[in-house]
């Protein structure tokens, strides 16, 4: 059987978007470093983080996606992201309602690119609302290692200025409880929407 070219193209979109998140310092380096995807025929296995088993299986034959994560809040956010891409999803739980991940149906050649793009959010989910400002605050940049470039600083400053707006969206989505991962969902969604514009500025 031949590799599905749509799956390969979708992977490349994810590759590019994860690079953007990384440049914007939305990933911890340890989480970014292991990101990788292998494709065979109509199937893909995507490593989305540093924890063992933090990965996703996409199967275009069965039109399914399985996202594995033991953090219940991240699963809730990822479910929302994946449903935004047109999938029907359920959160998987084990004994004692232990979080196991998210399973979805409805993956097809038309939406697989958007589905892959959503996976870029899975790697950033360690960002907590409280950390958000600290991460992009020049006063604490020493904690994060290298000095961000002027463009990255400029984009980050813009996003910091939009915190209220992001919070408002978040509050309206969650009925008044903007828990950390809901905030992350809103932030990552916003970056995905602005991907091309942000790239143009970073590549100038």
């Amino acid at each position: 059987m031949a590799n599905n070219p749509r799956l390969i193209e979708a992977c490349k979109k994810w590759d590019r978007l994860t690079e953007l998140f990384h440049k914007l310092k939305l990933y911890d380096h340890n989480d970014y470093e292991p990101l990788f995807c292998t494709i065979r025929d109509n199937k893909a296995e995507v490593v989305v983080g540093s924890s063992p088993g933090h990965k996703t299986h996409i199967d275009l034959d069965n039109k399914t996606l399985e996202y594995y994560d033991t953090d219940a809040e991240v699963n809730a956010s990822m479910r929302k992201h994946l449903e935004d891409a047109g999938l029907s999803c359920n959160v998987m739980t084990g004994e004692g309602k232990r979080a196991l991940g998210v399973t979805c149906t409805g993956v097809n050649e038309s939406n697989v690119e958007e589905v892959f793009r959503k996976l870029a959010a899975a790697t950033s989910m360690d960002i907590r609302a409280g950390m958000f400002e600290a991460r992009w605050n020049p006063a604490t940049e020493k904690i994060w290692g290298e000095k961000p470039t002027d463009v990255v600083n400029e984009v980050c400053q813009e996003l910091r200025n939009e915190i209220d707006e992001i919070n408002d969206t978040c509050l309206s989505l969650t009925g008044g409880k903007c828990f950390d991962h809901a905030f992350d969902y809103c932030l990552t969604k916003k970056i995905m929407e602005r991907e091309e514009e942000l790239w143009k500025r970073l590549e100038k």
Binding site: C11, P34, L35, F36, I39, R40
Partner: protein, 177 residues
């Protein structure tokens, strides 16, 4: 190891092995330069990688990788001893590693063992100069040349393991025949 992680690891390990080979050959060709930090760093870095790599391999491939590890460990002391001497003057199969030293059975045995492991895996030895030049003439330069050649053979094994994949960025897909 999960498939995606393993393939990524093998691709990166292969690239590093090819870089070690290149560095090793460059140092080997600088026969009249002094043994320096570069020799030590090359051996230390390659050794660290080989230790991780051997855990992902099995059978004869693992045996060969472990033999390479043993050789690098066994020759590390010669770099310390020869530090600041010309590579061509550092006679690594002698103890002490300089003209007039006695043959070092331990280091000679390690290189024989490496060539034996190579024969079992590839059907031929991986060194070129060991055994071809007298032990008392075999220098740091010759050693770096031989070890580079053996590292290259290992890179070929690794390439075969993931060579069925195309790669672009963080994406790899099965190569179609």
């Amino acid at each position: 190891m999960e498939e995606a992680r393993k393939i990524k690891f093998l691709i990166e390990a292969t690239n590093r092995m090819l870089q070690y080979e290149l560095n090793g050959r460059e140092l080997a060709s600088a026969r009249n330069e002094k043994v320096s930090d570069e020799d030590w760093t090359l051996m230390y870095d390659a050794l660290s990688d080989l230790r991780r790599l051997s855990l992902t391999l099995s059978g004869r491939e693992r045996e060969f990788t472990e033999s390479l590890e043993d050789v690098l460990s066994g020759f590390e002391a010669t770099v310390d001893y020869c530090f600041d001497d010309e590579r061509s003057e550092c006679k690594v199969l002698l103890d002490p590693p300089k003209k007039g030293g006695s043959p070092s059975p331990k280091r000679i045995t390690l290189l024989y063992a490496l060539d034996d492991a190579s024969r079992r895996l590839f059907g031929r030895r991986c060194t070129w100069l060991f055994g071809e030049v007298p032990n008392e003439e075999y220098s740091e330069s010759a050693f770096l040349n031989d070890i580079s050649s053996c590292i290259h053979k290992l890179a070929e094994v690794l390439e075969e393991k993931y060579g069925s994949f195309n790669m672009e960025g963080k994406c790899a897909w099965l190569r179609e025949e």
